[in-house]
Symmetry: C2
Subunit: 352 residues, 2 copies
């Protein structure tokens, strides 16, 4: 394919919800044996998924969390509680089924699809999808994370992975990521795209102390000053202060939207990718489903920017897609309620 | 058995958590491949369930939601959006598998155990457990709901149902209820036990308008004035301003606690029963697990009284145990994470 043609065609191909299906879903929900609206956000989720997929009976049997992995040059600044070597170690943990996201995916009947977009190590495993764009980003505190061309290639990696999953019949996706140091570029993207206050946008990640937190805030400030990302150009922001796996997740979300597959957005880093996706293609926001409220500072504000109010409050701060995979069961429950509950007529129950 | 002996023996038999199991669970959780504490409340749930059951590998395969049903004389005051005949209609809907709680229970791999503690109709169905104490309560706006003796019998119904489920190997329970009008006695119990403000404790239930809401608040005020329940005597409160299914749920919770079975507490009405249970037997609170934050006004305040912070925010207001059954999957996920994740050593992942 031509350079950027995948990216451009995807952006152009994303459409809105099927409003007729949304209306039909709402009509059905109001005939079920319950006070109108009493299932709350489960009704909203059911109607929205009907609109995304164009049917009240979407096939959600095949589910996957796409875990994008990449490394970060900014780790040289001492912004993470863990050494960078943990990124490839955790990728192998994912491939061997031992990480939290693996346990939760098995519990949900979902697959973990692991993609190397930019890990700074030579990895080889039959189940690893190799889309490596480069071995880690540059240090954003002093220069760009990557070139604009590389950012597009990372996004296209996500798009192409989802395109394959769509052809394999996957009906429900979630976003996940692994990349030691990646809350730092996530905060920088958040600040660059929204003008949010650095204090509000930078948190403790995997658990840094006060000193490292002050350093991390300074790093985000320097990253913005050194790179001057253009707020109105999401590709510029992703290239200058982003991350390869974050750009990959932007592609996962755009790819889900163009294939009309609901995609559950995980915590802070995934939400930053979702924000960038919604700036590149506003209609992509229709295909996003909420999951949990992360403990990471800034996530609540970010969910407000996204209009994606969390449904789970578990004080998690792990990433990997763990919160999103936990929400799979709730999305499936919403669809089952819409289709399997009795109506007032069929059950002989009196209405008010 | 002697009168009240089941009740008294149960109260006396409830013990605290197995602290050694809690410590062992926390040690294990801290060895898993994740930043310490990053699974948030999932870690807390896993450790608490270990403490309840005395093992890190509790058998949660058999799960049930116990739906207690009863009618309310106070419906004569026009406090509900639905006619009282809906109680027996919905009980049949539960037994035929068509209600929301049935769909969610099937989704969770759980059984719906339906108990008639006080429905004002002659019901007969092979799957209905008949523990009817009386056909509905008296109108609490003008007199007591039931006698103290009847309240104890309703509690004992819940205890005996759970005792049978425990012997059948059920490892995880949830509370559910059906009873048109039952948010009114629930609010009255809440006010009587805590001195909460009537404005804060009375909400719209299944969806009444402003006029009916004002009437409902007045009814709760009159119920407290007419009956003068003794705040320090939970049995007196349940008898005077309670409900048969609410007392039944108190028994379900006490029965779960004495059998060391985790019990997930549903929304407003179930939380009121949980509050009464914790007043009768403070150690019973150790066996309660949180579920959702109901849209019913007063539920948030009630969860604070209980110290049971919700984990699901779905704006539901249906009851039946629907929110609690949705939380089953999360409780199971917490236990699986504790047991199935790799440790830093086994996965060869570096620690900070």
């Amino acid at each position: 394919m031509e350079a950027h043609s995948v990216f451009n065609q995807t952006i152009a191909g994303i459409g809105g919800l099927d409003e007729a299906a949304v209306r039909e879903a709402k009509r059905r929900l109001d005939r079920l044996t319950k006070p109108p609206g009493s299932l709350g956000r489960l009704e909203e989720i059911a109607a929205r998924v009907a609109g995304m997929t164009g049917t009240l009976q979407p096939d959600l049997a095949k589910k996957a969390v796409v875990v994008m992995a990449g490394d970060h040059g900014v780790c040289a600044e001492g912004v993470s509680a863990f050494p960078a070597e943990v990124t490839p170690q955790m990728v192998l943990n994912f491939l061997n089924g031992g990480a939290a996201v693996n346990v939760l995916a098995r519990h949900a009947g979902a697959d973990v699809v692991c993609v190397d977009v930019g890990v700074n190590a030579d990895l080889s495993h039959p189940d690893l999808i190799d889309c490596k764009v480069r071995k880690g980003t540059g240090n954003i505190a002093v220069g760009p994370a990557m070139s604009r061309e590389e950012a597009v290639r990372a996004i296209e990696a996500g798009i192409l992975v989802v395109d394959r999953l769509a052809r394999q019949g996957y009906g429900l996706l979630a976003t996940g990521e692994m990349g030691i140091g990646n809350t730092t570029p996530s905060s920088a993207i958040f600040v660059a795209l929204t003008g949010a206050d650095i204090e509000a946008a930078v948190g403790r990640g995997t658990g840094i102390g006060d000193e490292a937190l002050a350093r991390k805030r300074d790093v985000v400030r320097r990253a913005i000053e050194a790179n001057r990302p253009d707020r109105d150009d999401p590709l510029d922001v992703l290239a200058k202060v982003g991350g390869l796996e974050i750009a990959g997740l932007v592609g996962v979300i755009l790819g889900a939207a163009v294939s009309r597959i609901p995609v559950v957005v995980d915590g802070f880093i995934s939400s930053v990718a979702a924000l960038a996706a919604s700036r590149l293609a506003p209609l992509s926001a229709h295909y996003m489903l909420p999951s949990h409220l992360s403990q990471e500072r800034g996530h609540r504000l970010l969910t407000e920017h996204l209009g994606l109010q969390p449904i789970l409050g578990l004080d998690m701060r792990l990433g990997e897609g763990t919160g999103a995979v936990l929400a799979f069961s709730i999305v499936e429950a919403a669809i089952k309620l819409m289709n399997e509950m009795a109506t007032f007529e069929s059950a002989g129950v009196s209405e008010r």
